[in-house]
């Protein structure tokens, strides 16, 4: 019982990441009709916003001490970060909380990146075949990835989480189980609720605002909305920016769990495409449901009991599910009729 609960919890945060990336991917596909292979790169860019912010904060001034000597006999170097020397204790707090604060910084940056990407490149590909869209965004992903590699190097850069959020919550106690039976790291729990709230915000935005209404109408029939005198292209550009923000935020918050490298985007991209296909191309609830479903399935298949029955299942479960779903339910779990059928 508790083993199952632990795996369920473990699947939730990973599922949250999948759901967020797949949500953005579906949003772009549903609005612009573009298959965006560079979406994983946006996730990666988001996580490097967090890295860059922390590197800025921890820029240090080095002063040679006049009196003290280091163990090697040279004058001791006193390193103080500018943030601390300028803001005092507040600076230390700032560094400690760099990852959550990066979320706020990432929003405008990712929005800008998304809009530039759409206006600069993607907009020329609306009328081209899907194969060419895949090719150009694949090329773009390589370029973005290599730029980040040139700037930050090829090694993973660990990002510590705030001191307060380290450690794990003992969930078992609340459910009347023994102590330490079911523990769950705080940060993972935060990630899960963070992803839920972002998903909720996106859905509320589409559901309850006029802007969202227009966008939904545009997803259903772009031409008709255009005929009503609405500049739907402009709205769709903003939706692309929004999708970039969602992917970027998913990346920022994921950094304490997985030290970001330049290639992290590609790894998530393949998985999130699988998620989108399982959920149904163009279906937002489908993307979210499939994201959590696959995350949980993945963590269940990693249990030793399961692995002893079918060895290696944890490595392929996601792809296997995708293959089966595509063959049995060609439209995915929640796919609508008429979307991406040829």
């Amino acid at each position: 019982m508790d083993a199952i609960l632990v795996q369920l919890l473990n699947g939730l945060d990973k599922g949250g990441a999948y759901a967020l990336i797949a949500l953005g991917l579906t949003l772009v596909f549903g609005t612009l009709g573009v298959v965006n292979f560079a979406h994983g790169a946006l996730f990666m860019l988001g996580s490097f916003v967090a890295v860059a912010f922390r590197q800025l904060l921890t820029l240090e001034s080095v002063v040679l001490s006049a009196t003290e000597l280091s163990p090697w006999g040279t004058p001791l170097e006193i390193r103080t970060s500018y943030a601390t020397s300028w803001f005092g204790d507040f600076g230390t707090v700032l560094i400690d909380w760099s990852v959550p604060i990066s979320v706020l910084i990432a929003i405008p940056i990712m929005l800008l990146i998304g809009i530039v990407m759409e206006r600069g490149l993607i907009k020329h590909f609306y009328k081209r075949p899907h194969a060419e869209q895949i090719l150009v965004t694949f090329g773009l992903a390589i370029v973005l990835q290599e730029v980040i590699k040139a700037m930050f190097g090829a090694n993973p850069i660990p990002q510590p989480m705030p001191e307060m959020m380290r450690g794990a919550a003992d969930i078992g106690i609340y459910l009347g189980m023994a102590e330490n039976a079911v523990t769950y790291p705080w940060w993972r729990m935060i990630y899960f609720f963070f992803s839920l709230s972002i998903i909720g915000m996106v859905f509320a935005f589409l559901r309850f605002t006029t802007f969202g209404m227009v966008v939904r109408a545009g997803m259903a029939d772009r031409e008709m909305v255009g005929l009503l005198g609405i500049d739907i292209d402009k709205k769709f550009t903003i939706m692309f920016g929004l999708a970039a923000v969602v992917a970027g935020l998913a990346g920022v918050m994921y950094t304490p769990m997985l030290p970001p490298t330049y290639s992290v985007g590609m790894d998530f991209l393949v998985l999130s495409f699988v998620v989108v296909v399982v959920g149904g191309m163009g279906s937002l609830p489908g993307a979210v449901a499939a994201g959590f479903l696959l995350g949980i399935l993945q963590s269940f298949s990693a249990m030793t009991e399961v692995k002893s029955i079918i060895p290696g299942i944890d490595q392929i479960i996601v792809y296997l599910v995708a293959v089966i779903i595509l063959l049995v339910l060609p439209r995915g779990l929640f796919g609508r009729k008429g979307v991406m059928e040829d």
Binding site: L135, F138, G139, E146, G312, Q315, V323, M340, D342
Partner: protein, 385 residues
């Protein structure tokens, strides 16, 4: 069976000459050493095979590296278990990768468009992950499959004694390293080119092109397109398998990273860069990618300093550090940029660029197909079915 129309025959002979004289005309370009030439031939073959699927039918597979990997593993196992001769290894690689392609193709081809791409991607990732984890007894996981002194090599050892040290791959006693290895690969490439030529001009090839331009109409005219697609998929899988086998022939080592989806992406890149749908384009794309990968990766700061020696002092550092982003480690950046530019401006790849230049300067010829003429009718949009 071996006859070709006159025009195709000329193309074939020219191609064969170009490939076989590669060591000569590549030497001024600084690429005339066997290791690189072998790669030219092998990746040319891979791109050629990929083009039979993508270029002719328009189905974009993102999992071709899986067949390359299967071919490599099979070849190395053939070296380990049977004989160090190259021919059985290649034949076995072709058969096994063909079977593998049959299996994957049968499932993947139930869907088309982007779903097909994702399905092939999923299969390739599955094979890659399995090769790294559960199948380690077969693939040797991260350390990659290698020859060892204790290999049984049944056929070889019935005829001769076990020698000192690791044996080398051979073809009827000729050592397959260096130039002889290149010529072996080159001959295979030329044979592959011939088959690809035959396919392109055959009714079968026309059928594939028909599927590309409008699959539904093909179905309405009474053709069952599935067997055609499946054969194209298997053929192109066999090409990839043979290419993987050749990789193992030139260097008897097989690792799982050959199956990663970025490797599949590389094949796509080569084919599109050269020009999908043309015969020579993909091969040229492969050559260009491999050539510049080799040349650019070797650049470092010292070389750059020598190149930019004419730039005034002080400014030079800046130029060198800027250029340094695009060469050496950053070579993939250049590749990505070039690729994006080609897809945006020349969707038909370099071959289309060539055709545009020819049609610009050869406008006097009446029979010249002029694709960029302003009065040519706009491509008919595929009707929604």
């Amino acid at each position: 069976m071996f006859a070709l129309p006159k025009k195709q025959l000329i193309i074939f002979v020219i191609f064969a000459l170009v490939v076989l004289t590669m060591p000569l005309w590549m030497s001024p370009l600084g690429a005339a050493y066997p290791g690189l030439l072998q790669k030219f031939a092998i990746y040319g073959l891979l791109a050629l095979g990929f083009n039979i699927l993508f270029g002719l039918t328009g189905y974009l597979s993102f999992g071709h590296a899986a067949f390359l990997g299967v071919g490599s593993y099979t070849a190395v196992w053939s070296f380990k278990l049977l004989t160090m001769d190259a021919v059985p290894a290649i034949i076995l690689a072709a058969i096994l990768s063909g079977l593998f392609a049959l299996l994957i193709g049968y499932v993947s081809l139930r869907r088309s468009g982007i779903y097909f791409s994702i399905l092939t991607l999923a299969f390739a990732q599955m094979s890659y992950n399995l090769a790294y984890s559960v199948l380690t007894p077969i693939t040797n996981g991260e350390t990659s499959l290698q020859l060892s002194l204790q290999d049984p090599r049944i056929i070889d050892l019935t005829f001769m004694e076990r020698g000192q040290g690791l044996p080398t791959v051979s073809l009827l006693g000729i050592d397959m390293s260096g130039y002889s290895g290149f010529y072996f690969c080159a001959v295979v490439l030329i044979m592959g080119f011939f088959i690809a030529q035959k396919i392109t001009i055959s009714p079968f090839g026309l059928m594939l092109k028909g599927i590309k331009s409008n699959q539904n109409r093909m179905k309405y005219t009474g053709f069952n397109t599935r067997p055609y697609m499946l054969s194209a998929f298997v053929i192109s899988g066999i090409y990839a398998g043979i290419a993987g086998g050749l990789l193992a022939v030139t260097d008897p080592l097989a690792g799982a990273e050959r199956m990663q989806w970025t490797a599949s992406g590389e094949v796509v890149l080569m084919t599109v860069l050269g020009g999908a749908g043309t015969l020579f384009g993909p091969i040229m794309g492969a050559w260009i990618v491999k050539y510049f990968e080799n040349i650019f990766s070797a650049f470092n700061d010292t070389v750059l300093h020598n190149i930019f020696a004419f730039v005034p002092e002080g400014f030079r550092e800046w130029v060198v550090s800027c250029a340094g982003l695009f060469v050496g480690e950053g070579w993939h950046l250049t590749l990505g940029l070039v690729f994006v530019i080609v897809v945006v401006f020349l969707p038909g790849g370099l071959m289309e660029g060539y055709r545009r230049i020819v049609s610009k300067f050869g406008a006097g010829k009446p029979n010249q197909p002029n694709s960029s003429a302003p009065d040519s009718p706009a491509p008919v949009k595929q009707p929604a079915e």
